[in-house]
Amino acid sequence: MTVELGHFALILAFCLTLPQAFFGLAGAAWRKPHWMALTRNAVVGHFVLTAIAFVCLMRAFYLNDFSVLYVAQNSNSELPTMYRLAATWGAHEGSLLLWLLVQATWTLAVAAFSRSIPEVVTSRVLGVLGLISAGFALFILTTSSPFERLWPAALDGRDLNPLLQDPGLIIHPPMQYTGYIGLSVPFAFAIAAMLEGKLDSVWARWVRPWTNVAWVFLTCGITLGSWWAYYELGWGGWWFWDAVENASFMPWLIATALIHSLAVTEKRGLFKSWTLLLSITAFSLSVLGTFLVRSGVVESVHAFASDPTRGLFILTFLAVCSGSALALYAWRAPLFRTDTGFAPVSRESVLLINNVLLVGATLLILLGTLYPMFLDALDLGKISVGPPYFNIAFLIPMLPMLLLLAPGMHAGWKRASYERTGRTLVLLLGVAIVAGLVLSLAVYGWHSVMTTVGFALAVWIGLAALMDPVSRLIRKQSLSASIVGMSVAHLGLALFVLGVATTESYRSETDLSLRPGQTAELSGFQFTMTKLGEVAGPNYDAIESEIRVTRDGEEIAVLHPQKRTYRVQKNPMTEAGIDSRWTRHLLVSMGSPLGDGAWSLRLQYKPMVQFIWFGAFTMALGGLIAATDRRYRSRVTADATVSTTTGVKAA
């Protein structure tokens, strides 16, 4: 019965999105306070009903109700409880329900934390979010209901994909979704601003914390995904440039550009139409990502549903969303023209270049991702674009961006003078170059110019990021959350660059055959296989080897890589054995038996690889700190900082 109750709740939740959208948009247009108040009620109701639907589905998983098709396909009575609950979003239907729940949560958050925003604006934003929820709820109800019954009921389920049986799976999708969907909030704000015909610094101040928080979730989601792929796929890569990864990375890049563009819009009242365009693009790319993943046009771990009607629905949804938003933009953008100028050397210029480079990088990735699909769709041959393209194409715009970051952080608005900071920046650059040379020559050994440049840039950016907070602390000046956040985020980027430069330059790996008693060597470490035996897990059997790692006769670690076979789906899985230290990882993965007690093994040495994720999480932390700045919470009635408000008399 609960399953039907869940289905019913979902239908009601869909029904409530319609009044939410109507009263939100119409109430604001005709200035009817009662209608606008109704919108809030609809938001709360929609949230409660979606949550009920979600809990009902989760309960079916918990109780092993294999009379539900979706549960029978994605769970099993032997599956540990934790994974049974997480299996709720382990495949297409359930993950969409999670998507809707997250959307409802964001909408509720906007309704709850909008006390400082005029009712008309909030109402419009909630209305637009209602339309988006309506689209997704309809999508679930018409093409992907997780509540369908299976008759006769299955005796046991087909189990969750073993790849997904990992703690990383429990948090990665919700994080990723929260990020993706969070971008619908700046999107809705952009639509609201265009409908109102008014966009000023106050508007930017409303949008900034929302954009930051969405970006923080997206950053964490992508980082967790990368980390999960690294250890769960067992082969030690942290980024593969596959279509699904790119689909999540493109909205991230645009959201990053948006964060920087919003800074200019808030502080100087510039880049208004550009900011709007980025808000629209960021969310559109999120939906495009969903299309790529859900329609089955790309093959990957994520592409679990290849159903043309689903792809078509999302494509239509995308066309309606971005199409109408862009049409509105074309009509309204001329209202947001500004005449304020700025000098070629100023913070505005630097942020403009930052935006151009980020958007350029996104376009290059988009080209590499979509081109093979277009060719395939038009039957012009089958190609794929190799990772080297993405590496080069991404580095070309990112290198100048990293170069400009340190001076850019310290550029003043309107016209940058560098009177006070120039000397320190040059000094830090000197330190960075020395540090880069020391790292690449003395510590790791010469690799290439690019490696040294990478080291030096990382150090320069890191030091430059700390310059401002440190000097303010010394002079006992106040330090706002915005500045701390910016510094922490840029420091995170520096750590990330350091991790990438080291790992990609100095990693080493080898595939070899080893039998118990034999020893192999990699990067100065000796790997000895001491044991080989069978072990049994809750729902899998595995062959486990014991590898003792020594260096100069001294034991460093004992690793236990496994080759698992899950009992239901019979899929073999590689569980790498990882010895983790601050400065490096050692990975051992088991390949296959080669006969005579020998196994093929892959040994890997990954210096500084953890800095990649640590740096990315530090960036996210910076974004979070910046979002807590006090000025976002104070109610602003008049635009105090800039007097370039674009008023509109008639539309």
Binding site: P344, K382, S384, P388, I392, A393, S513, N571, S600
Partner: protein, 151 residues
């Protein structure tokens, strides 16, 4: 220099910068396109001799050989009308086995054998890489057409 000249110089520099970046990116794009060929294409000599490409098909039953304790594997890929012998040294993916559809990336050696740098199989029992499925379908249709007597 007047302000106007300075601005023109700036614009010119930006155009040159963007142009150079685009040229780099597009040449990288061109160099890194990997084409997909079926075993029939490879036997017919359609695949490039000096360039990395991808070949996909089913691993022929009984064709997999690997000396005991060694990493050097050879196997035959087929689209049921032509075969290509593939050599690969390294750890094979978990789902590699005979009768399974796989995709290999690598180059041809002078003897016409394919030396793979990477072998991909998907993490699903029933999965067939879409490229392989398409090329098998095509071979099947061709075979059906040929077997029908001409009228």
């Amino acid at each position: 220099m007047t302000a106007r000249q300075r601005r023109m110089l700036l614009v010119a520099l930006m155009v040159i910068g963007v142009g150079a970046a685009a040229a780099f990116a597009l040449s990288a794009f061109q160099d890194n396109l990997l084409y997909f060929y079926s075993p029939s294409d490879v036997t017919a000599g359609k695949a490039p001799a000096d360039r990395t490409f991808r070949v996909g098909g089913m691993v022929t039953e009984g064709s997999f050989h690997r000396p005991t304790g060694s990493m050097e594997a050879t196997f035959v890929l087929t689209d049921y009308s032509h075969n290509v012998t593939v050599r690969y040294s390294g750890v094979l993916p978990d789902l590699f086995r005979e009768g399974q559809g796989i995709v290999a990336r690598g180059k041809l050696d002078p003897d016409g054998r394919f030396v793979a740098e990477e072998v991909l199989a998907k993490h699903d029992e029933n999965y067939m890489p879409p490229d392989v499925a398409d090329s098998l379908k095509k071979q099947h249709q061709d075979a059906v057409r040929k077997s029908q007597p001409a009228t």
